[in-house]
């Protein structure tokens, strides 16, 4: 397989009160064509910033974003606009991302107008097709306004809008976090089906490891702007290498009362991203931390076939 998207030493800074906040710090990874890469981590770890940086909605301050051989970083506005039809974004809050005063049919058709599809009949045909694909009845829904739909249906509308240009890469930023459990499963299944049908490559961002597991081929774990671990999904769950991945796995509440919740989990909360710890950013909460961890930033290293971890003392490794 070949990489459709690759990030090389990607860094994104925000200026906060005269200081630099490294929301994404020196992250390198790739997403193969046809693959779903899950991206997990806790609030504020930089997941959304990374997604926005890929689309150049937030210009990176360092490193490269390469999409299908083209470097997006530094691409002019006009060239980026043309590129945008190949990369789409789906957000967490479906209701807020739809213009409340526009009809559903027009919302979904909008990307077609932007890229210059002038034939109204052609636009209608494509809107109907994609609405049907995402499980909305065009005859009922096209003329309605967003407030007439539930959160789950609004997410279907957002997915339809993202797919109408037949993109190659779709970045889903917490697409089901705002939805109820019973609706969440519908949308996850829909995304899987759309991926097959349109041959999509997905970057699937979420904080919920179980949700990410359900859809991802590989998973990348971030902490305070840094990539901690990246591995094939099954491997990551069976044998996490990075202590932070292990902590995340232990913290998931399991819907089974015979499984006692893990106690004595690494205490404390993530430190401020404005003032990250020296060396390994996880060291203030890591049970394995030692002097080396405070002194040296751990580089991302392959610990087993296809499994990479940025840790001086990984939990697993080659025998």
């Amino acid at each position: 397989m070949s990489a459709l998207l690759s990030l090389e030493n990607l860094t994104v800074e925000y200026a906060v009160g005269g200081r630099s906040l490294f929301a994404v710090s020196d992250v390198s990874l790739h997403v193969d064509r046809g693959e779903t890469l899950g991206l997990v981590g806790e609030s504020g770890c930089g997941k959304s910033t990374l997604g926005r940086a890929v689309l150049q909605l937030r210009r990176p301050t360092g490193g490269k974003v390469v999409f299908d051989g083209t470097e997006l970083t530094g691409l002019g506005a006009e060239k980026m606009r043309l590129m945008r039809r190949r990369l789409q974004l789906i957000f967490q809050d479906p209701i807020a991302s739809l213009n409340p005063r526009r009809r559903i049919g027009d919302i979904i058709a909008e990307p077609l107008i932007i890229v210059g599809v002038t034939d109204k009949a052609e636009r209608d045909r494509r809107v109907r097709e994609v609405m049907t694909a995402v499980g909305l009845d065009p005859d009922v829904a096209m003329g309605r306004l967003p407030h007439e739909f539930s959160g789950g249906q609004c997410q279907r509308i957002c997915i339809a809008r993202a797919l109408i240009l037949e993109p190659e890469l779709v970045i889903c930023d917490e697409p089901v976090s705002a939805l109820d459990v019973s609706i969440r499963a519908q949308i996850l299944n829909l995304l899987e089906e759309m991926k097959r049908r349109y041959g999509l490559t997905l970057l699937f961002i979420a904080h919920d490891l179980a949700v990410v597991k359900a859809v991802s081929d590989r998973i990348a774990v971030m902490y305070l702007g840094k990539l901690c671990e990246i591995a094939p999904t099954e491997r990551l769950f069976a044998q996490p290498a990075h202590p932070y991945t292990a902590l995340l796995l232990d913290a998931i509440p399991v819907p089974d009362p015979t499984v006692r919740p893990a106690t004595n989990l690494a205490v404390g909360e993530p430190p401020s991203p404005l003032d990250p710890p020296s060396g390994c950013r996880f060291r203030t909460r890591c049970p394995r931390a030692d002097r080396q961890c405070a002194a040296e930033v751990p580089p991302l290293r392959e610990v087993a076939a296809g499994q990479f971890a940025a840790c001086h003392h990984p939990l697993t490794g080659p025998a």
């Binding site: 806790e42 609030s43 539930s150 789950g152 109820d180 459990v181 019973s182 609706i183 969440r184 499963a185 519908q186 996850l188 299944n189 899987e192 904080h207 919920d208 490891l209 179980a210 949700v211 597991k213 359900a214 859809v215 991802s216 081929d217 999904t233 099954e234 769950f237 902590l247 995340l248 796995l249 232990d250 913290a251 998931i252 509440p253 399991v254 819907p255 089974d256 009362p257 015979t258 499984v259 006692r260 919740p261 893990a262 106690t263 989990l265 690494a266 205490v267 404390g268 909360e269 993530p270």
Partner: protein, 322 residues
């Protein structure tokens, strides 16, 4: 047997809306003994929060409450505002999803804890400050003396929730209602907050109602579970029994729809089709009928009562249980 600490009898809550009368809670009965934890699970809009507000007597002004909320032998619905105020804190306390609901942004953490202790327990300023620092330490806040001087905005979300819990626990309440206390928090912080609640609850022999949409949270942290759907309790059982054998199809479907850690990637999820009914347009029969895979004609005709026909300690509202 002595009377339970809390007993909710036939509680309904109705709210006027532009679309008509909305029955947020529909004839709910629940009991809770001292020292026990009851989990209330359900999806958004099923009435979890309105039920907790009915217990706390904190309903919106235009809401209409029916039924009785017996707490320590008194019907809370009949108490004066003053009597209720005296109850909140030493008897009944609450922790909300957003800790800022109960914290005042313009007062320091210290002022808020000290005031609570002074008002309810009549402590002196010095004693209350000392106790405040102890409480913060007990909920896992490092450097508590310094934290007392800080404002809520200077703390992380997890720290704020710890402070809200410290204040809720400060007067040793007999019942704590925790309404989605960890929904806004990260999983690693969530685990710590749930541990904290469980520890403090055991130490104080306090009863707790843990309201959540997460079946994972109730599984590990409660003695008994009530599942709500469209304003009603549709299943209620001791936690191990509920998970071992779900009788009501909604409960079963809800559990099945959660992505499981032990299933392989790309396993299709058994989703529940459709969505909950419009609460201003109640259905004559079972509210879950439009989405239920086991539905039969009689389900649409009459509402199944919440009952325990086998007398096995497990109640469910379904004509064709699993």
């Amino acid at each position: 047997m002595s009377a339970p600490l809390l007993s909710i009898e036939g509680v309904s809550v109705e709210l006027p809306t532009p679309r008509g009368l909305l029955r947020a809670v529909d004839r709910v009965d629940l009991t809770l003994e001292a020292g026990r934890t009851l989990g209330v699970v359900g999806e958004s809009g099923c009435g979890k929060t309105m039920l907790s507000r009915a217990i706390l007597q904190l309903l919106p002004k235009r809401a209409k409450l029916d039924g009785r909320v017996m707490f320590g032998g008194r019907d809370l619905a009949g108490l004066s505002r003053e009597a209720l105020r005296r109850l909140r804190g030493p008897e009944l306390a609450v922790v909300f999803q957003d800790p800022m609901t109960s914290l005042n942004p313009v007062l320091t953490i210290g002022t808020q804890i000290v005031e609570t202790l002074q008002v309810h327990l009549g402590m002196s300023g010095i004693a209350a400050t000392k106790r405040g620092a102890e409480l913060l330490a007990a909920v896992g806040i490092p450097a508590p003396e310094q934290r007392l001087r800080q404002y809520p905005s200077q703390l992380s979300g997890g720290m704020r929730q710890r402070v809200a819990i410290a204040i809720a626990l400060s007067c040793e309440p007999k019942l704590l209602i925790a309404d989605e206390p960890t929904t806004a928090l990260d999983v690693t912080v969530q685990a710590q907050i749930l541990d904290l609640l469980a520890r403090e609850q055991q130490r104080r022999h306090m009863a707790m109602i843990l309201i959540t949409h997460d079946l994972g949270v109730v599984a590990g942290r409660t003695d008994e579970v009530a599942v709500m759907y469209a304003g009603r309790v549709v299943e209620r059982a001791p936690t191990p029994r509920l998970f071992a054998h779900m009788r009501m199809p909604y409960t079963e479907a809800l559990l099945a729809a959660i992505p499981r850690l032990d299933s392989a990637p790309h396993t299709p999820l058994p989703a529940i089709g459709g969505r909950p009914p419009d609460p201003t347009r109640p259905l004559p029969g079972c509210s879950f009928a439009p989405r239920c895979r086991y539905v039969e004609d009689d389900c649409r005709a009459a509402k199944p009562p919440l009952a325990d026909p086998e007398r096995a300690g497990s109640l469910y509202a379904c004509w064709h249980p699993r």
